[in-house]
Symmetry: C2
């Protein structure tokens, strides 16, 4: 089973840490310090990392597409371009393979979901966030998350989530909405609603184990004033993001990419 | 006694909150939500707020110069310009008053210190941070702080501080250094060293009172996993910043502005 997830957001929002936390595997090694240098890279890079992992006894080939440089320059006007190009190039590659005589061995490198990291400012979406989402929401399943949400109190998270959803609605941005089917049982509907009600997920990532004040060993971050637990749903929405992405909605994210985003792209391309 | 402090940094780094916390006064009222709008302001604004406050029985007229919009656009190439212009305009105004026949009533609006807010990414200074500091370090006393430092663990703060100071040294940026005088008593030297050793100050701001787990009422931020106390030196460097800015080095910041930054500006201006 293949799955491709893209991560987008400014440097320092905990993207590498979150990927490691999501798949409980050190996919991203500890970061080497960027050298002190007068030279800064001039453009957003597209990097891929593939790993074979096991989830609930199911073997999964996971590809993470990283986009270092996004939002990191003094001028970020073209930050979105290389990312959109990468998504469309993967559609083109699939289209080309679909058109072959022998279609036995199609390699599907299309991006099934794009996790967009929002900085925990507590105010509203930034112009860069809005521009990116408007450019890409019809090409890929956008899953916005509030990065490093341990920066915000519960009250601030609630306010910020509401404002982000208002911004998204105002700009007619279509973020990924889980499909509800008529034949779904009440339990599934309930579970999907609970997950969807948390979007944008307020997440915290950690690949370190810490000890809580009551002696439990958990994944989290240790501060002098307390320990935040990644897997504690009272502390953040990490569990819900993980559930949606890996357990309950992985197949649907792939189907929606194929049936909607790819089909729309294909239609536009063949008509033009 | 007059004092002018400028605050610079991206939106959402806790600048208004910190100003209120520093002067223990609601100088900045709670923020109204920015309206949902397709229009974003195009340029950095310069805003002033003046308040009469009392510190240790000394009456102080404090002016805070705010710079909303800095670092907030998709393209921040000219973010520093309106800020430099404001600093130089105040030098010009002072120069013009100094040259008058009657110099009894000089109004000194020169900026005595500029608190620069660094986002707590945990990595290194951003290109925007470096550009701003290089443009302004010879015009104003630069005091870099790590904003919202409760985002970082103690270990991450130590690493980040070291990297920031390395970046600053590498780019030959002169941040404000407290002067040491031969005649200072050992206690003063010790106190100054303790304060300076904390730069860049890792700060947390709060204008709310919370109750700690052991029942004390303090200024801080309440999280489900613990309460961070602004005035607790094990939690952040707020106390040290406040000491330096208001108690021990306020006069020196004014003198250095007058004797060095202003004099250099005046000399350059008169020679050109
Ligand atoms: N407060 C907080 N810090 C985090 C979190 N996740 C990662 N970090 C820290 O933030 C810094 C940057 O993380 P990294 O994963 O390298 O961010 P990236 O640049 O987006 O890939 C590191 O010091 C991490 O330990 C989080 O959820 N909350
Ligand atoms: N984690 C954390 N949040 C803070 C801190 N100071 C302010 N905040 C919160 O950050 C948000 C933005 O603060 P604000 O002062 O308006 O930032 P400004 O846009 O830079 O003026 C608000 O939700 C504040 O409550 C801090 O030291 N740590």
């Amino acid at each position: 089973f293949h799955f491709t997830v893209m991560v987008v957001g400014e440097s320092g929002l905990g993207k590498s840490t979150l990927v490691n936390t999501l798949f409980n595997a050190p996919l991203y090694p500890p970061k080497e310090q960027i050298p002190l240098t007068q030279e800064t890279p001039k453009t957003v890079a597209i990097q891929e990392l593939t790993a074979d992992i096991e989830e609930n006894g199911v073997r999964l080939r996971l590809t993470v597409v990283d986009t270092p440089g996004f939002g990191d320059f003094i001028n970020n006007e073209d930050s979105w371009k290389p990312i959109l190009q990468s998504i469309e190039a993967r559609f083109d590659s699939y289209l080309e393979q679909e058109n072959r005589v022998n279609r036995n061995k199609i390699t599907d490198k299309r991006v099934n979901s794009c996790i967009y990291f929002i900085a925990p400012t507590g105010h509203s979406l930034k112009p860069l966030d809005i521009e990116f989402m408007k450019r890409l929401h019809t090409k890929v399943n956008l899953i916005p998350v509030i990065a490093k949400s341990d920066t915000l109190t519960d009250h601030e998270v609630a306010q910020f989530k509401k404002r982000i959803l208002d911004d998204i609605a105002f700009h007619n941005i279509k973020i990924y909405q889980a499909q509800q089917y008529e034949h779904d049982d009440p339990e599934t509907i309930q579970e999907t609603n609970e997950i969807m009600s948390k979007i944008p997920f307020a997440i915290v990532g950690s690949d370190k184990e810490i000890t809580t004040s009551d002696g439990r060993r958990v994944r989290g971050r240790q501060y002098p004033w307390g320990a935040i637990e990644v897997d504690n749903e009272d502390h953040c929405d990490f569990v819900k993001l993980r559930q949606m992405l890996i357990r309950t909605h992985m197949e649907e994210l792939k189907d929606y990419t194929n049936d909607v985003h790819y089909e729309n792209y294909r239609t536009e391309k063949l008509l033009s």
